[in-house]
Amino acid sequence: MDDLLAEFIAETREMLEASSGEIVAWEADPADRARLDTIFRFVHTVKGNCGFFDFPRLAALSHAAEDALADCRAGRRDPDPQMVSAVLAIIDRIAQMVDAIEAGEDISNADPDGGDQALIDAVNVSRETSGEDGASAVKQGSSPRLHAPASALIESVEEAATPARRADPASQRTIRLPVELLDRVMSGVSDMVLARNDLAHRLRQAGNQPTIDGPFERLTTILSDVRDAITRMRMQRIETLFSAMPRLVRDLSAELGKQVMVDLDGGDVELDREMIETIRDPLTHIIRNAIDHGIEPPSARLANGKREIGLLAIAARQSGNTIAIVISDDGHGLDEDRIAAKAIATGLITAAERSAMSRDKILNLIFEPGFSTAEVVSNVSGRGVGLDVVRQNLEKVGGSIKVSSQPGHGTLFTLQIPLTLSIIAGLTVEVSGQRFAIPQSYVEEIVQASTTALDLSHMGETALITFRGNRVPSLMLADVLGLDTSADAARDPTLVMLRLASGDLFALAVDGIHNHGDLVVKPLAPAVMKSGLYAGSTLLDDGQPVLLLDVANIAAAHDLVSDGRARVLQPVADEAAKPAHALPRAMLFTDCNGRRSAVRLELVQRIETAPVSAIDCSGPRPRVVIDGLILPLIDLPDTAVPAPGNTGRVRLLRLSDGACELLVAVQQVEDAVELAGPLIPVPDDPLAEAVTLVDGQPVTLIDAHELFARFGEPPVAAGRPQCSLPADDWARTILAPLVTSAGYEIVPPESADPHTIAIVFDEVFEAAEALGRGLTGPVIRLRDRPEATAGSDTIYRYDRDALLSALTSAARFAHRPGGRA
């Protein structure tokens, strides 16, 4: 019946929308037969449909309108304005009633304000009498609250009807679909993505084909849009999970003789369907715990001055890519001392450690394996599978859980879970010719080094590497998987440093890294999951399936996960180890005189490599052009003095004090180091701030203040020197590229200014001189023959070196202020 009603409402709405245009048109020309027929069909259908349902008011209204319209159609009546208004008012009233029916309001009772009857009268009255009566009856009968007066309709039925409609916040149009169909669409889209990738591969092989590439790009964009939309389709409101909670709470509280009220919030938060299933058990477990252990019996609550009904609040919130679910109760809270005592008794911590731990840390001990504070194991909770399992299950999907509690006031569990578990960022690695994927969230760093550099050593069966001064256990992935290792790979492995949720670090040696990207993870068959090595499978872009490694499980299987005790203690140790202040860091380098020096790291903008030809030594201080800026250069080695033909390069440290920049020429840049040793001032060297020890070697720390005071100057944008060329093909095709690559801008001769270097052929130059129209700027004269003519300052046009040095000197000449004088 509900379905029928919904259909009736939908149909009526649709017709209203479709006929609204007709109504306005009919209104303008009441004689229009086609419009009249449309409106007649509408009221007729409404009347017919009302027969199925018990809507006497709707039936009466539509019947009256139908009668009037039927008369018009039969020619018994002329549709005068009064009648049109009356009919329109009825249609408007029908629209409002349909809204009311949809909202579930009872409209079957008698006409509350007589408005309906007035409308019906208006239609009928105007049948007999004409003139003002009909319209006035309409106005009289119109209740301003329920519908707009017909006179308003004359202006625009649509506009009048719309504001009268209820603005239903949940009126987003929805349809129900079987999940199976969704899955089919999803896998269809995944197939399309794979087909696209395959096509992309083939297109690349076939080369560039503009006619295909354009549409293909469009296809790619559309496909990724569709994929996003489909991913959203997988989302389900967490309501589906919440809806079972009140019943669960009711049953549990009845069983335990407690009174609990449940308050659910954030049911509209959306979550991947599979994720909802994953968190169902953990959530249920926590709720059981809360009712069983958290909320006191009514008598105890009353004795503590609380309401006898306990409150359990479950709220879901989305923030970015994670969902936080908070479960709070107003029970007696967690007992810090009892938890601590229990932890000491079970050997999780020692009494000495306990005194060093914060309340928060002690409370979170309840997630440790084998921990349960309930003294009496009840029917509901505390059967050995405790909160440690909850945490394990959440960590498996990349989530986390923590607890906080106010003694006597309640407990608050916070679950953090990722939005989706089907798409994760992953790293593809290769070992023994086979590829595997690792979830990116575990990957801390990738280290590529020889075994000697990593100081690989075997302690019994365990391999250890030294990483940043710490000994870190290392697993060979090939050994873990029982694959053959090639000797090459074993000697020169790539190490993926993995950080577990517990904070433990270990290295996984693989043969190589492929790439990283979003992986669509699919579940594996149970027999494969049983091996404990894999978390799922995924398809690479080329359609090849790869296995996703279950990092947490692999680490656990090799005893790399510290037990609860270490896990608890580690943060304490970390806090103690954290130095009071961060050490200053410096860039270590060897300067051009072979002296090891350092400069504070904050100053270093970049390490530049510049060709020697970019150095200009003409001024009192050498300068370098880098990125179109002229910067002062310090410490230039003699070997790098620019000379024609010196094609060497120099390493430069680009320092900046924020406003000005300068460059320091260095022999070799070593590394960034921490300045841990004491800084000993050097009074007799103004450019040295101090001398310190780095790795037992003395290092001069450069005094940045003195450096910038002496040499610093704001960078000047270097206009590229301009050059004009002879206007012939040889100059355009052969000379121009050479000049451009030497750093000159080629300008047409007519826009040349006095600083423009003109390259001309000697004949042209001589002709110009002869005519008294000599060139004003610097001039380079070219000759066609290798042999120089005595007395003329010309360069053979294929003498590259001479040409370049002429350009350099001409440019310097042109740029020097007053150089022309």
Partner: protein, 150 residues
């Protein structure tokens, strides 16, 4: 159920029957990615469009040595417990109709065969052993585990 449709396959030289309703499709098997440390009868995973199939070698699933028989390039795709599997067999023969209900034979089929077989079934093309998919996919170790549990 007398006219149940069956897919007849050869497993280790024996004629076996799979319910045609269980067989989703027959595919030509492409590259199989081996799964290190997985049970021996799991040959690996392969991609069917965007789906990953677990490839089961039926001969090994019966605890038999696999290389004694030829292998069909085609594999039967079946769904069991929400996961899709591709079954590697000697040969996929035909689809036929069952006559009668599966029955037992005196003396049984042998330990491994009895584990995976529902019984003997007469078909239009002769008798065949009706296979229980979940037992087949569980692999040869299932029998040992059962024995241990008992």
């Amino acid at each position: 159920m007398t006219n149940q449709l069956l897919v007849i396959v050869q497993i280790a030289g024996r004629r076996c029957a799979l319910s045609a309703l269980d067989v989703k499709s027959v595919i030509e098997i492409g590259t199989v990615t081996p799964i290190p440390r997985a049970p021996a009868h799991i040959a690996g995973i392969t991609a069917l469009r965007s789906q990953a199939l677990t490839v089961i070698d039926c001969r090994l699933a019966l605890g038999l040595v696999q290389h004694a028989w030829p292998t069909d390039v085609r594999a039967a795709v079946v769904a069991e417990g929400g996961h899709a599997y591709a079954l590697k067999v000697d040969q996929i023969e035909d689809i036929t109709t069952a006559i009668g209900e599966p029955g037992q034979v005196p003396g049984g089929f042998g330990a491994q065969w009895s584990r995976v077989a529902t019984g003997m079934i007469e078909t239009l093309t002769g008798p065949a052993l009706l296979i229980d998919l979940s037992a087949l996919i569980a692999g040869p170790d299932a029998l040992r585990h059962e024995a241990e549990a008992a």
